[in-house]
Amino acid sequence: MSYEPQPDFGTPAVREGAPVTLTIDGRQVTVPEGTSVMRAAAEIGGAIPKLCATDTVAAYGSCRMCLVEIEGQRGTPASCTTPVRPGMVVQTQTPRLEKLRRGVMELYISDHPLDCLTCSANNDCELQDTAAQVGLRDVRYGYAGANHLDAPVDASNPYFDFDPAKCIVCSRCVRACEEVQGTFALTIEGRGFDAKVSAGLASDTFLGSECVSCGACVAACPTATLNEKAVKDIGKPERAVITTCAYCGVGCTFRAELRGQQLVRMVPWKDGKANRGHSCVKGRFAWGYAHHADRITRPMIREQITDPWREVSWDEAISFTAARLAAIKAQHGARALGGITSSRCTNEEAFLVQKLVRGGFGSNNVDTCARVCHSPTGYGLAKTFGTSAGTQDFDSVEDSDVVLIIGANPTDGHPVFASRLKKRLRQGARLIVIDPRRIDMVRSPHVQADYHLPLQPGTNVAILTAMAHVIVTEGLADEVFVRERCDWDEYQDWARFVSDPRHSPETLEPVTRVPAADLRGAARLFATGGNGAIYYGLGVTEHSQGSSTVLAIANLAMATGNIGRRGVGVNPLRGQNNVQGACDMGSFPHELAGYRHISDAATRAQFEAEWGTALDPEPGLRIPNMLDAAVDGTFKALYIQGEDILQSDPNTHHVAAGLAAMDCVIVHDLFLNETANYAHVFLPGSTFLEKTGTFTNAERRVQMVRRVMDPANGYEDWEVTQLLAKAMGLGWSYTHASQIMDEIARLTPSFAGISHARLEAEGGLQWPVNDAAPQGSPIMHVDGFVRGKGKFVVTEYIPTDERTGPRYPLLLTTGRILSQYNVGAQTRRTANSVWHEEDLLEIHPLDAENRGLQSGDWVRLASRAGETTLRALVTDRVAPGVVYTTFHHPDTQANVVTTDNSDWATNCPEYKVTAVQVSASNGPSEWQQGYAAQSRLARRVEAAE
């Protein structure tokens, strides 16, 4: 697409309303009741001049530019704040209006720099456009009077500047911060002529303020007042490509705006079905890693991991790899080989990696990074509902009355969804937060949780069973729903179980440390407050009872009748962009695409016929089992696409031992990550900007990823996998990623109706998309559960084996922060590090005082698995006895400390509960020093001859 700004209808669309017909400039238009005259005019192509109006925020009526005349009505009302009425006759262009608008425009321009030719917004400026629209030719007041032209620029934010000299005080930025983002960081300071936009106090800069750099203000600004630094540096974009973000599982759609092959900016696409025109600091701004100097674009190999790397051609790298894999297979058998698909890569790429492992390597030893995040979601929701996925679309939250968040931190992990949720809460929805930490959703501007249950880490099942106890024993269950939709006998078994007095909030209070009265209140609210929706994250899944907690969540939703319509449901907030898709694509060792078990002969026969090879009917190894088997000598080779298991997986010492024991580790990635220290082959990867394919977000929406620029390494990732497959003798002949999706659709019933052509024509579709649901499935289980009757499963609380004691008296829980993403490989290579340069250990003031610690002190964090050092942050955000850190920085490697305890059903690691001790330290640990030295050695690249 060539460069055109996104259409702006002036005021937001009205979702529902009786049709109203009116006449604007002699043309009839019919719009829903409640629509503004401005929007109605825009719908038929009439552009009423405007400055303070934009369709992402509510009408404000301050600029007096959009005045119109209405038959039978006195004066010249603002069209943005005037709702349509049946039979209304509107004139948008009359001599009177022209004169009024020109007069107002003169005032604006009299206090605006006349530097259009050198302004970064030249030819992309609404003020400039509006001046032209109203025919401004002269400013009678001159420019010598009082003005703001010398106001200093605030360049503190790494991504955009604030130039108050160009500000027209339309408040679009302030309103976007409030209405779209929900942070309320901006305000109008002063009155009258002194009014100016301010990031909080007068002394605050944008960087020092509460601004979260979501970019909503920049997108809303009609002038160059808030403008991307990249636009200033590079110039106005000349083309735009719609694509899907590669950060979290919200799946925001962006316009990548470019000059030639140079990306200028990522602008949230207003028609994006997941993000509805909003963005966060990562997707909006943190794309600079794509051309970072650390990027490796030429393949490298080495005989042993102690050798330096040697840059080679693609041919040599691929033939070296294929020969080594063939030799291992010949000597040790097919089950000695395996692969890991990536939740950061496309569906098509994940599908090909598992196809290579199953059809080429000859084993089912394929796993994916969902192993360490949402594998319990797949297990739990398949067991209870029949589908390994969330039940709703993101729009559903607009109809929620009570929202229960458990083990998720949406403002940091899924910020665009958090903004949509906060908007609903500001409209009056109620909120329950179950989290050991006082996350921002508990209390932030205009948001106050009704209940925050700060449970002891590891007691999720006890909390949910206690809530169920209250609901059942107080007669609050929706038995009509349960009788109709669920297995009644199983419900009765479950109801008897949860009714037992040993599950009462009072009995469990010493375990959960949650006051029984609060828990009872929260349970009553959830059961009786209207549409109840549950949103959860890794604080649910990454426990020894992760799967049990997912089962308990499903039980709670069914018991209260909160399944099968808008506003309700069970909503796993997926960590990475394509966790859902990677799981859908058959990335788990026990199942083929579409969650069908490998032992099912009929399913296997379909794949065997399509792929022309026999498949192993036995399940393969999961990632932790691969590492165990490697240490044990039976697993020898691993192809890892887009994943850094040394940094992301638990018990780093064990991961390192497993990798070091293998004969061939192939890392296919953008950077020499930590895992590559143990690799024999490095295959350069491509960024999401350089490839074509699809991602599937947390709401099951399959969306196009479009190639924005050519791959720096020469190949899209699926092409690299195909090169390897061909070298291993497989006759693959894909020439475009769409052909892979066609194969996926042939083999996967829930994807039967999906193709690139259809996604191009209709936008993202939510699976299942098939004959039964040709337009996709925004809400699941509407008329009945996919498995038939909903299944209640009894979930006994079993404390984790990880116990505190005299040596390790504190509980460590880990998580992520807004500005960084996962292991930080991408975001650490952007200016986002200005907000988070290092991992910090949050510790309660009481625990800090007992240890003589202050914020900023180096501390030693030790567990039974290992120890590291990092700086302390003393805060009462965590409860006494609990400490918290992130895992974004390899220098810290929080996973040196986490253990290999895991979920009973899926082996998802128990990242959220580690018994630790914290003490004063004076610098990096012995392990950190040793690892830094080893890492330097492992990254050596032999000089080219």
Binding site: Q545, P589, H590, E618, P619, D632
Partner: protein, 69 residues
């Protein structure tokens, strides 16, 4: 099979059995066996069949005993 890997498999089997125990002993034994068959790689199943059963809980032991050899 190293003792560390064997101990880990025994721990995993006990964990599965403990979490399924609330279903009643007979169902828990059957479900534990089915879970291991469904999700464990053949070498893991062979290893636990060959392992010293002393460390297994009663439900896990009965489930392992019911696995095909």
């Amino acid at each position: 099979m190293s003792s560390g890997v064997e101990a880990n498999l025994i721990r995993m089997a006990n964990q599965i059995a403990a979490n399924l125990a609330a279903q009643g002993e007979a169902a828990a034994v059957a479900e534990t066996a089915a879970h291991i068959t469904r999700y464990w790689d053949p070498r893991m199943r062979a290893a636990i069949l060959a392992a010293d059963a002393a460390g297994l809980s009663p439900i896990a032991r009965a489930a392992i005993a019911s696995l095909p050899r």
